[in-house]
């Protein structure tokens, strides 16, 4: 048996995207065990329901995370709509769907850039982020904000994408897609990238289900589970979740790459079939006492769960957000066992960690 040492990894490390701390118990060059630790950016956002009323909390929920913001505001607003029994107009559902898919595209391209940076391929990182700027331009043209879109209110949306603007947006997305194909070839076919990603961090299908993994991490191990199948604009349009069978880092990278092209297709389908009508339903009164609301959203990183409870006043009793990275941390500790030290950054990046979501 080799000598055991403990290497502390994080929360500050050039290759880590988010502040998570790992105590890596090493035997020579192999990791025997990894103990995670979070809590560096706990802001107590769930406690703010005592000070901000339920209409102002949409903007607090949006600022839980800097990458998956729109998903959180959709989830919170929809959970309160479920609680109060409000049905939002169909145009609002389609608009929410379009912005959610745009957010998925920008989040995955951001992740691809970070993955390239993680194994040292900085010029590919810069190419990805330069492409992402064009996606952020589309978001800014349609809503006013590059990342923080601020279009949701309880009852619908208050910003509109006029039908005349849709063809221009589709044109921009098509040109983004051409450059994106070139970048994704670099990830999938390049020899040096393959050496870093193939056969690394293998998670079998049974393990992925036992450890309650979510999102692309689960789908890359062969389980076709996607909350969008049950959500409104997607259920009508019909789509198949993208899966892969190998379960290694390469499979997760491939799933995310293909999800971007699927999102561009979904945006086109939504822009073609978007119905006309109102943008929001007017609200009456406060959340009734003892009422509860639930909702699930497919964020770029997995499934998010929202629970709200009202007590008759304008302040909610409880807002609970359960984000996907909190569940994927368990999967991460499992795949870290038995890997090489040089593969640790790949493992951490492959779950697409978003620790600000985890800790709120």
């Amino acid at each position: 048996m080799g000598k055991r040492t403990i290497i502390p990894f994080g929360p500050q490390h050039p290759v880590l995207p988010e502040p998570v701390h790992l105590d890596l118990v090493m035997e020579d060059e192999k990791v025997v065990q990894a103990i995670p630790r979070i809590g560096y950016i706990h802001r107590g956002l769930e406690h703010l329901t005592e000070k901000k009323d339920f209409k102002q909390m949409v903007f607090v929920a949006e600022r839980i995370c800097g990458i998956c913001c729109f998903g959180h505001s959709v989830g919170y607003a929809s959970a309160v709509e479920n609680l109060m029994g409000i049905e939002i107009p169909p145009r609002a559902k389609y608009l929410r769907g379009i912005w959610q898919e745009l957010e998925r595209i920008h989040s995955h391209i951001l992740w691809l850039g970070l993955l390239a940076d993680g194994f040292g391929f900085e010029s590919l990182f810069m190419h990805c982020w330069r492409l992402r700027e064009r996606v952020l331009d589309v978001l800014e043209q349609t809503s006013g904000g590059r990342v923080i879109v601020s279009a949701n209110i309880v009852g619908g949306v208050f910003k509109d994408i006029p039908n005349e603007q849709m063809p221009g947006i589709i044109e921009q997305l098509d040109s983004i897609r051409e450059d994106y194909e070139a970048i994704s070839r670099a990830f999938l076919d390049d020899q040096s990238v393959n050496n870093r990603l193939r056969e690394v961090g293998v998670l079998s299908r049974q393990d992925a289900v036992d450890l309650s993994c979510l999102g692309p991490m689960l789908r890359a191990s062969g389980v076709a589970e996607d909350v969008r199948l049950y959500e409104e604009p997607y259920a009508t349009l019909g789509f198949t979740p993208i899966t892969s069978d190998e379960g290694d880092c390469y499979a997760r990278c491939k799933v995310r790459i293909n999800e971007v092209t699927q999102s561009i297709d979904l945006i086109k389908a939504m822009a073609d079939t978007i119905p006309d009508g109102e943008l929001s339903t007017p609200l009456k009164g406060n959340p009734p006492a003892g009422s509860q609301g639930f909702y699930r959203v497919e964020q770029p990183r997995g499934e998010s769960f929202y629970y709200v409870r009202g007590n008759g006043t304008k302040f909610l009793d409880r807002m609970r957000v359960r984000t996907p990275t909190s569940m994927n941390l368990a999967g991460m500790t499992k795949i870290l066992q038995g890997c090489d030290l040089a593969d640790v950054p790949m493992m951490v990046l492959t779950i697409d960690p978003c620790i600000s979501c985890t800790e709120r």
Partner: protein, 172 residues
């Protein structure tokens, strides 16, 4: 082929202009809907305070007696809640990014600013009005007191026993 997939992109990038911009000498035109800063059309404002109550960060301060509307642009998160609740629709989101500054400042709008002479005139008129009210009250109180004295004198002339009681009550 497993090598150099970025060849075409890298080669063409050599001849195109850079992807970055020489800020602040070159600045990008903001898009029409960019969330910039809140502008108030102060002449329409009725100082109801709905915007200040809706603001999630308490960046707005509305003062009805002073007829001022103030925003702290460093607290504003550009969420447009105030724009949505305004009953007179006098608030809008403008697309210019707020300028950087070295100290935090508050932007104040004041409706119908009165000049000094106008303010003095108004104060004088108000003082006169108050004096008239005070004089009228005093006169009414005088009259009441005199009426009470007359009634007491009549009651005293009426009888000894009731007069004694009345004077005891009067002492209290």
């Amino acid at each position: 082929m497993g090598l150099f997939h970025l060849g075409k992109m890298t080669f063409t990038s050599t001849f195109k202009k850079p992807a970055t911009r020489l800020y602040p000498y070159e600045q990008r035109e903001p898009f029409e809907r960019t969330k910039g800063h809140i502008v108030c059309d102060i002449e329409e404002c009725i100082f109801c305070g709905a915007c200040a109550r809706a603001c999630p960060t308490s960046a707005l301060r509305v003062d009805k007696p002073d007829r001022t509307w103030a925003i702290n642009p460093f607290d504003c998160i550009q969420c447009s809640s105030c724009v949505l609740v305004c009953p007179k629709k006098c608030l809008r989101m403008d697309n210019g990014r707020p300028a950087a500054a070295t100290t935090k400042q508050v932007r104040l709008y004041h409706q119908h600013p009165y000049s000094q002479a106008e303010k003095e005139q108004i104060a004088k008129e108000e003082a006169e009005r108050q004096a008239k009210i005070a004089a009228a009250r005093k006169a009414a109180a005088e009259k009441k007191r005199k009426a009470a004295e007359e009634a007491a004198k009549k009651a005293a002339a009426g009888g000894e026993a009731t007069g004694g009681e009345a004077s005891a009550k009067g002492d209290e």
